[in-house]
Symmetry: C2
Subunit: 488 residues, 2 copies
């Protein structure tokens, strides 16, 4: 046995670090001179927060619960820079949880809205738009929201509504006892929110506003999961999934005309996995029909809902394999802490030929899954804040994305349901990913790579991607120019 | 693009699962017929807890803080079976934190013990054995512990002492605000405890009792880190490190005679890393001297103390490389959540030629480190409960050991400082590793592999290992026999 000389040691150490650096996500990006200037500034801001955190860990935002650092992040110059950055697309987000809850609050000022039940009860109130008072629900009379507003005052009513329709809590560790508890509230929120948001005028407003906020957050593309619920109007008309998609499609066309730098939107049809076989079969029929009618706007198929308590993929595999082979899959899988149980969904979705994996949190405990992800170039859609709020992980530095970043896995950073935790459409997740998940020395190349990946791994066609990349590059260069000027 | 047929899918799925199973730690173990019977029983017990946890996550022990599930674990038949199992050796534990605190409580009944300061203050009291009252400390008079016992009653005094000398708290998430906070108390405990435990009669008692408890926990070998503090007696004699090692050595020889199934003990000299260069040089001198005098009993060298706040390895590398090449290294590294900062100690210790890595928690974020660990067969000493209590990880299912188990990394499970968190010498860590870290289907083969690894990766010589394996096998077979009988 012998030891290295110190010279040998230093040489091997340098090589070791170079090797690790060369394997990290974004290492292949070569920065221009101007980008290097922006990078220096970016890394100065990052280092400031890292140094402070290293000294006082309890003040490091990624070591804490998101709800307790919202204000701190708002004041962070690093966050502000990331906000201004063209971040590419959002590839994992859910229909009614993208745009901020303020649109919903505003919607409740509309006439014809009724409430059943009260605030501050274990289950939130029910809502419904109707010209006339709906029939009592379990013996309880509906009341006009306009009347309740008069009682509580607008401010009081609005605050109650915000409490109902976000998971925000000042003491999150006290508020939610376990993953099933918070998922219970989370899923109930979607259900309770539905009769407000599916009222056609609100539905259109909410979606338009979501696009506006996405655009404002410097995100130029959106690929979202939609359950396609029954949209309705005051004439008791109920819109079919095909009609709902048409509403989406028309709004997108219009939005693109008024926002020429915005690249576009695609929809992944993603009904809930808590479905019996008969209901599931109707989902498949709908998927086929949408695929025929909207072959490019509807990008593919997925299933949503808490994985731990939902039906496993093994219940669905056989029928999924019989779907038209041109329907692409974008499955959630491995959004769990369990190992060797429901996380085996990861294996199913890979063999089903999924194009991307939503979350893939449990994949790190499956060496073969990791191999197949690289081999098949399956993109993992990371949603850091979602995973913390929904109790998969406590400290962002322990998020599995850190592992994917360190070894160049095909990943994007996305936001899942940002409105439900008062986050911006994408910037907060990018901030946590950059400061909490990434290694200290990972820099602008990582962020640029994440933006490029979000276009590359999208469901856009080759031609669409080329155009998207052009538009994004214009925005990126303009961001670089402006930032260079501002720091000069 | 085409899809698999369902038959192809099922065949590929089976192959996928077989492949993953074949890569897991312990997959190479072939169980005898009797072992298979024990395995069935073991897996029945495991499944019971997994099923209950899957249904009600908040009641799943590995999803909660260790302090809140101590009683629950005590009642677990799975834990009781693991307790009875011959677990091999403990390769990572610290001198004065192995044997339970009751030995310390008992020690304070000895005469000549003095206390300075009071309970329930931000800093714990100081203690000292002395024939006569020591000089005041910062103006504060010492009081005889016998007198304080009379005032508080034995029960009150003992309970105060337990509060001072363990990290136990009924509301751990409230008690410690961050990693530096709990490490502050943790390190102060060692310091405050030292003048009690280093009183020669207590020192000998404590170590003997530690071995007794290790043995009782069905652990047959111990390789522990020692700082070798200044042991003293009532005649003001202060024992040198060499003399302290001799005390250890003599006790071990005696213990082996009275406990013929116990394999033995080795010591890793591990002074604190909060040392200036001059002090550090004395450590190196001591290490060389011990290596000469106790070439087999003193197995090697390490440094201890909180990694985040301690000096980085880069401060020490040059001098460590000049140490006698026959001194083996067993360094702590990567006991941190940071990435690209102090965790780079991992790279240093690998290039220094470390035989094992203490914790290696951060290694999963370093792909090259992972490769080198396998290539060089460097054993990672996992300490699951320590990592939770000292705030690296919240939920055991997120412990990086899960990743190491899934892909057959060279690892052992150890316990670090079990007495400080009221754990048994090894069984609680084995329980958490088996139920929380391991995949649902990992079975007796994992536990047997961990036991065998603890002998294989020890610092024992080839001949010692052969003898150790013989002795362990006798104990293991007897455990299997007895268990088969008890479940028949």
């Amino acid at each position: 046995m012998s030891r290295l000389t110190y010279e040998q040691f230093q040489a091997q150490r340098a090589e070791f670090l170079r090797d690790e650096e060369s394997r990290a996500l974004g290492a292949d990006i070569v920065l221009t001179e101007d980008e290097q200037k922006v990078n220096e500034w970016l890394m100065k801001l990052k280092k400031t927060e890292l140094d402070a955190g290293f000294k006082t860990p309890r003040e490091f935002a990624p070591a804490r619960h998101f709800f307790t650092v919202l204000e701190q992040i708002k004041a962070s110059p690093l966050f502000q820079l990331i906000q201004r950055m063209p971040k590419g697309g959002i590839l994992h987000a859910h229909d009614t949880a993208i745009g901020s809850m303020e649109t919903i609050v505003k919607a409740t000022y509309r006439e014809h809205l009724w409430q059943n039940g009260e605030f501050d009860r274990p289950t939130p109130p029910n809502y419904k738009f109707s010209r006339t008072k709906p029939d009592p629900l379990d013996g309880v009379e509906w009341r006009s929201v306009a009347d309740i507003r008069k009682e509580l005052g607008n401010e009081g009513f609005d605050q109650n509504l915000r409490d109902v329709f976000t998971l925000f809590d000042e003491e999150p560790s006290q508020a939610y006892s376990c993953i099933n508890h918070i998922w219970g509230k989370f899923q109930y929120m979607f259900i309770s929110l539905e009769p407000i948001v599916t009222y056609k005028p609100v539905w259109e407003d909410y979606f338009r506003n979501s696009l506006e906020e996405v655009h404002q957050d410097n995100v130029c593309y959106l690929e979202f999961r939609g359950v396609l619920p029954a949209v309705y109007d005051l004439d008791n008309r109920v819109y079919t999934p095909e009609e709902v998609v048409q509403i989406y499609y028309d709004i997108v066309q219009n939005f693109k005309q008024t926002h020429p730098t915005f690249i576009g939107v695609k929809l992944i049809y993603a009904p809930i996995k808590f479905a019996d076989d008969a209901l599931f079969d109707t989902f498949l029929d709908t998927a086929e029909s949408l695929h025929q009618k909207f072959p490019t706007f509807v990008a593919g198929f997925d299933l949503v809902g808490q994985e731990d308590t939902g039906r496993p993929m093994t219940d669905f595999n056989e029928r999924l394999l019989r779907m038209s082979p041109t329907i692409q899959f974008f499955f959630h899988a491995g959004e769990t802490n369990w190992c060797g149980l429901i996380d085996e969904n990861l294996i199913d979705v890979i063999l089903l030929g999924t194009k991307r994996i939503g979350h893939g949190f449990a994949a790190v405990k499956h060496p073969r899954v990791l191999e197949e992800i690289k081999k098949r170039n399956i993109c993992i859609e990371l949603n850091p804040i979602s995973n913390q709020v929904l109790k998969l992980v406590d400290d962002y530095r322990n998020h599995v994305g850190a592992i994917y970043f360190s070894d160049n896995y095909p990943v994007v950073v996305s936001s899942d349901d940002p409105a439900f935790w008062c986050a911006s459409p994408l910037s907060h997740d990018f901030y946590m990913a950059f400061l909490g998940l990434a290694a200290a020395r990972q820099d602008l190349r990582l962020l640029k790579k994440l933006a490029l990946n979000s276009l590359e791994f999208s469901a856009m066609s080759k031609a669409e991607k080329a155009e998207a990349k052009l538009k994004w590059t214009v925005a990126w260069n303009s961001f670089i120019d402006q930032t260079v000027k501002s720091i000069a």
